[in-house]
Amino acid sequence: MPIKLLFQMSVRNILRHRRRNGMMLAAVVVAVAAVVMMNSLIRGMQQDMADAAVENLVGHVKVLAPGYRDDPGIQKNFELASDWRPPDGVAEVAGWAMRVRVPAVIMSERGTRGIQFVGVNPRQEGISFLSSARMAGESLKDASDGRIIIGQALAEQLETGLGRRLVIITQGADGLNREAGFRIAGLYDADGEGMEKFFVFTGVDALQKMVGAAVFTELSIRLHQEPALFALKEILVELFTGLEVLDWRELEPQAAAMFIFADAAVLIWFFVMMGALVFGLVNTLVTSVMERIRELGMLRAVGMRPRSVVAQVVIESSVLMLIGVAVGIALGLAGIFAMGDGLDLSLWSEGVESFGMRTLLRPVPLFDDVLLIALLSLGLGVVASLYPAWRAIKIKPLEALRR
């Protein structure tokens, strides 16, 4: 096939109708730019949702005693040396935390609430939201700190504040209820009110003392990067025989579903935008082909093969797409750059927070996504050219010449 000739003719035919093809190009550019930007926002949202789920004391992987998930309590525990660390050779581990987490009741003079009482080692909690949440008052000093940290929202419900004492009741390891007083060291402000009302923290040693057992109910491990998850899980399963090793998707199925939905949304959004565009492209190409049907008839009359005519139309469409995609991606990335750290959604923040997202929607452009958009667009360009190409060769050369 005389590729060079076909290419030359395709490009010149595009240039011959600058306005028409310019409009088409503009449409491609806008669509691609919109897809690239939207895509990066969806990815940002997705990452935020995953981060929120992971930071939500879950971590990427959690080790639990069997049955803990169905009926959480101090009885479902396991022993672990307090200086335990992940085996060497597990790459990508960002940190780990060993906790005691038990259901409890918290009481002030004004109210009583059911909560999750969590004993933590503050030095290990760099991996959870605890380290990044805004804090009024003081943080916990260390694992033996016997004060508590409660959420701002819970403090409001209980009508209590910094420095006040609260009573917490929970079951001990022996099955008997324990009751103890705790002083409020700090009030945390998390992204979601739900969390603030749910979690109350104290030093893990203090909680172990209260329940009367030097055991843990969960080991949470966080990774730098999600892809290392699978390998880590395998290692942990070997290490903790008899315990449950679960990743965040299993622990937070709703967030995981949203995560998968975001993957799909990327594609849905692409096909909605580009799908509409394809009709325009087909129309432009059909016009272009029918306009020079005599010329194409002549080419075939003098011996050009139908497949070369098809190639000519396909190349024409591909060139249009290629330029549109290149400029569109550049524009999209410029738009992402212009968004900077993100779009502030705090106006709608209530609805947004309930989805486990943050109020700042930040774009996260992924190279793979941009590549996928580019390749899919080019693929669509080829698909869109097939019908016009078929129109070009359907007609016999003689009939075309007579037009």
């Binding site: 005389p2 011959r16 010329e295 002549m298 009359a301 003098v302």
Partner: protein
Amino acid sequence: MSDVSVGNGVVVDCAGVSRTYQEDAVPVHALRGVDFQFARGDFVSLSGPSGSGKSTLLNLIGGLDRADAGTIAVDGVAVNALSESELSDLRLHKIGFVFQSYNLIPVLSAQENVEFIMQLQGVAPGERAERAVESLASLGIGELAHRRPGELSGGQQQRVAIARAIVTHPVLLLADEPSANLDSGTTEELLKLLRRLNDDRGISILTATHDPMVMGYAKRRVVLRDGAIVEDSAN
């Protein structure tokens, strides 16, 4: 495929060629059993009233259409038996076409319009350019090589079309009303040119025409009426 094969061979041999079109279920007999031989190096004009079947015969010989009955051999090859792609190759390598309305590619320059057919044939770029330039020059439009068809007069465009048709050294040049869109002065120039190509280079030419001037320049004159040859005479 040589332009100097002025032999006694037969370039085109038609025997009992018929072509019937179905127009709204009414059969139109465009050709009714035409027998026609065409010697190598000849220059034949095909005339006759409108609708007598001139274009039809030319298209059948050029492999652009298929006969319903009879046989056509071009340069010894039975055209009837060829597949579409073989016909395509026959047109590309053995036949030069000159159409009534020039049919140049508007986005290509005169030279590129002549070159592309060699690109289809797979001729090397250097040789292509050389032959195109030479072909245009031999038709007296060498200096217009870089203009596009839109920047050329009708006569100039028709010369480019002829340059394109002969640059491949076809066995046969088929021209359907090549002068229909030209004034008489330009037509005469065109005819001198065709005659020169025929005399000097031995290119076999078959042209359908209404124009007495064209008939006058041809060496042999064939007249069709109602799809049959009614007259066949040497000039």
